[in-house]
């Protein structure tokens, strides 16, 4: 874990939050920060090499970061009450369909729209 890299991640998040506020964008600051950092990596590849370890270090435990919000299910349970059945069915069916449709369309489009030369390299 490199302190400079950690500070840079925070700086980019600040830039993202600032841009979202300033321009009144509906997109959250961290996502804009991510896009700005990606742009910086493309412009300065050495920055990516420098931040490599720290970035993967944080991402390695991405799952952990969702635990506090997920525990909020306790606090939210009161709001669910009568709608619990509808919510459960909507969540399960919608998530299954979204993955299936997303994957089928992406696969179909990749076969149809990509140059044939690229395809044999993609198959695992």
């Amino acid at each position: 874990m490199n302190l400079t890299s950690l500070a840079l991640l925070l700086v980019f998040q600040c830039l993202g939050e600032g841009a979202a506020q300033l321009l009144g964008l509906p997109i959250p600051g961290p996502v804009i920060g991510m896009l700005l950092l990606l742009l910086s990596f493309l412009l300065f590849p050495r920055l990516a090499d420098f931040m490599e370890q720290t970035s993967w270090g944080i991402l390695q435990h991405l799952s952990l970061l969702f635990v506090p919000a997920g525990v909020g299910v306790i606090a939210a349970s009161g709001q669910l009450k009568g709608d619990l059945g509808a919510i459960v069915v909507a969540l399960v069916v919608s998530t299954v369909l979204a993955i299936a449709v997303g994957a089928l369309v992406t696969q179909w489009a990749m076969k149809r729209l990509r140059p044939a030369a690229d395809q044999d390299r993609e198959q695992p």
Partner: protein, 247 residues
Amino acid sequence: MMPGLHRLTDVWVYLAASPLLGLTTTLVAYLVALQLYQRLRFNPLANPVLIAIAIVVSILVITGTPYKTYFEGAQFVHFMLGPATVALAMPLYRQWRNFRRAVLPLLLGLAAGSVTAVVTAVGIAYAMGASRQVMVSLAPKSATTPIAMAISERFGGLPSLTAVLVICTGILGAVLARYILNFLRIDSHPVRGFALGVASHGIGTARALQVSAEMGAFAGLGMGLNGVFTAVLVPVVMPLMLRWIGS
């Protein structure tokens, strides 16, 4: 014996009120969940987010600790979601050449997955008689937490409910994706990762990163793109759907 026990209770009362306990509980519960996940050889059913949440919830219920008290400590972990989202630029950058070769297919897949997620969730909730507030809270569930909460709030949903629905969606996707995609005989890691990232944001991405760096990168891309896409899609689709169902 009794005075000692009494002092123990005092220590507990003191600790329970400080942020230290919430933070410690979160980390230890996650480590236990991770151990279990490794023991079960990364079986998606043993999703570490799900198990860690179950452990923490059980502890809070048993000790009668309110969520607000717990979150005072856990917020330090929660806060790291921001920098972690920024750090997703790394897998995106490392897979950039692959993305550029597949821009159009990926955008089509994004639109298909994202529209399916929003329309089916709202449609099913409506068909089963859910309130308008619940429908709005469900609509952005496939987007990453901060985006989803912002959208939900703007259209009269409950942001706190949306946060929980987003986590549930993430866990469901991370747990079920392998079975859905195997059933559909889709075995390309980029396609699998992308669809999972679009439907199940960061939790799906965390799962994909555990399978392969390539799958993780495409999941991160799917998550990032769908965060932006949902933020544009819901403001357009939601009023149309609400008008159509006359609510």
